[in-house]
Assembly symmetry: C2
């Protein structure tokens, strides 16, 4: 017998001795995550059950059905992906793009750019139309691009979290059918909060997240795929080039076969089930009206304080408001002051709007008149100290 190998000794260089976790309560009024509903948080703390347990299988059915309600779709393939919204975004592209497919992306902000990056990784031939950050597309330019490029997929963003624009969707689905093209829609910042009609708008693929309109922590990416997109998936010549997000495999778990794919994030789905249950209890029309009402209260209040909103009123998104940082104000210093002094998070600008706007979110559980009034009162009392003094302005040093 050869001598047994001597096992390596244990290295304790990285063995931190920490106190129990002690995160503070924040009021999250940025681009997301938003605060989660306490009922959802309590569901997360339940003891897990098995991902093939008959009771978990029942829960999966409830989550799927309630997601169909939230999205206003009958799509069979409606499931939460086991990752964040970006994973669900990637799932829409990975499953439907075949190498060389032409994908038209309508870019009006940061998340349109992300679609371009992702689609390229799946070897699509990507073409874009663009709009300045803060504007939206009209039907005529979309039709012209469909005619010029004859894409297999048109990908666009319903609610641009980077700009605060809500893209009007009426008529776009009809154009896509006319030009034999799938319509893929980012609904990350609209699901559960802003009028959204997947089937009536003839959307073939959509994705969202858990941490905004649904009042759940981040970690799941709702995904839906209609029959035309399913047909494209079924007709593809090779395997989906992404195992984790392969809907043909996932469908065997979420469908009636219940074949093991990956171990589902059971507790996150407990939370999602409760989040969707609460949304169904409130009702979509009521949730949409609540978000709209509180957003209007915020807009009026900000304008009363002399602040300028970045997006014109008809295109404004109820969940996310972009406010221009006044001349001479250090936007980052002010957000940091709100966080440190009041525990309130608001977001900064991304991409073209970096340094130019604050992003204020009123999403899900956080969309309340009390939160609006609290934020407005704090902005009113705290912002003046961050404005340049009249003398500095006069001297041109602001």
């Amino acid at each position: 017998m050869p001598p047994l190998p001597v096992p390596p000794s244990v290295n304790s260089a990285h063995r931190l001795a920490l106190d129990p976790i002690a995160t503070p309560e924040r009021l999250l009024l940025g681009p997301g995550p938003s605060n989660a509903h306490p009922t959802v948080l309590q569901a997360l703390a339940r003891m897990p059950i098995g991902h093939l347990d008959p009771l978990y299988i029942d829960l999966m059915g409830e989550v799927q059905e309630l997601l169909r309600y939230a999205w206003q779709t009958d799509n069979r393939l409606t499931i939460p992906m086991s990752g964040t919204g970006s994973a669900a975004m990637e799932a829409t592209l990975a499953n439907t793009i075949e190498p060389g497919d032409k994908v038209l992306v309508a870019v009006m902000g940061y998340f349109g750019q992300r679609l371009v990056d992702m689609a390229g990784r799946y070897r699509a031939e990507v073409v874009t139309i663009e709009r300045p950050w803060g504007e939206a597309f009209d039907l005529a330019e979309i039709e012209a691009a469909l005619i010029a490029h004859k894409p297999a997929i048109l990908a666009m963003v319903h609610a641009e979290t980077s700009t605060g624009v809500c893209q009007p969707m009426e008529g776009i689905g009809d154009l896509c059918r006319q030009h034999d093209c799938l319509l893929l829609l980012d609904t990350v910042t609209s699901l559960g909060a802003v009028p959204l009609h997947i089937d009536a708008w003839k959307v073939d693929l959509a994705y969202s997240c858990s941490q905004k309109g649904l009042s759940c922590p981040p970690g799941l990416g709702p995904f839906t795929m209609g029959p035309r997109a399913e047909a494209k998936l079924a007709a593809r010549s090779g395997k989906v080039p992404n195992w984790y997000l392969d809907v043909s495999l996932l469908n065997k778990y979420w469908g009636s076969d219940r074949v093991y794919h990956h171990t589902a994030p059971v507790n996150m789905n407990f939370g999602m089930r409760e989040a969707l249950r609460l949304l169904a209890e409130e009702g979509l029309e009521a949730a949409w009206a609540r978000h709209r009402g509180n957003a209007e209260r915020l807009w009026a209040g900000l304008e009363r304080l002399g602040l300028e909103l970045h997006v014109s009123e008809p295109l404004r998104l109820a969940t996310l408001t972009t406010v221009r940082i006044p001349e001479g104000v250090d936007g980052k210093a002010f957000s940091r002051h709100l966080l440190d002094r009041f525990g309130i998070e608001v977001g900064g600008g991304l991409g073209d709007l970096a340094g130019k706007v604050w992003r204020i979110g009123l999403m899900g559980y956080n969309s309340t008149p009390e939160n609006v009034d609290r934020l407005l009162a704090i902005v009113e009392s705290e912002l003046p100290a961050f404005r340049p003094s009249p003398a500095a302005v006069a001297a041109g040093v602001a």
Copy 2:
């Protein structure tokens, strides 16, 4: 002005009216998820904070450092992927395989086969060596395959959850360096529970999950990448063909730049931080010894009851035991009885072992003598009713 479009009406066909969630407490003694530690569950229920909040950035650092301890590695790139263990598995392959790279997979069970499937999707030229389900590889066959195939990557499974085998790792890393090949290791069912030395064993890439040895619910996939794998990633000619799992992007968020990539699953990371803190508090040697001791208690008890273990003693995995289903017993009916009558989950066989074994897990929080004794007592009292009667055996109808 054209008339405003009439918004579609809301369809309530999928608006389920549900009661609040009411899942039962199960004792999860299957292949995972295992029960989570109550402290971890309480952490999941904390109100989220922002994924760019300075306090969250601190927490990310703690999670990384404690993962290094758990894995016994100094690897800079040590992070939890925002998906389950399968996502982390895919991340190891997606980041390092370039089209046409030869990948050698040592297959001795279901998860080796999964590596083959995934590697193929990244356009590797995949070759395999195989072992019957329940055995492990020796150094000579691995060396012979490295010489014959000259792969860029050798991928193998440390702890095969489908068979209950723990692959001896001594010497394999040296062979891989000698033959200029990266060593990629599945540690899904060993991290935190079974001796595991990423650096001493010269492992270049590894992944795991949250729901087994770490006592956290499923939803995060620990990932680590050493300098040789980093160099292969840095030298690749094109983008990583998977956006969500692209370590070159993720590194900008988890590294010192803190550039936004995707919205982190904040609450799952609260849980992970607590799970790793508790592991560091117990200490690796103590956790490993606990798992080993309880597994031996289980093995002895099962053999006392006349049951046969599928894996020979030197290769047995402390976290997962495969027990042969006795002749004439309906294995599925017995597991279902344990679940329905006692709330205890044990697993069935997968692939080559479907219908032939039960899989009993003793992982993390669940690895206790009390759980072992409870299961043994129930098997002793309940299994006889599921055995065929002596008359049936004599008549040959069992």
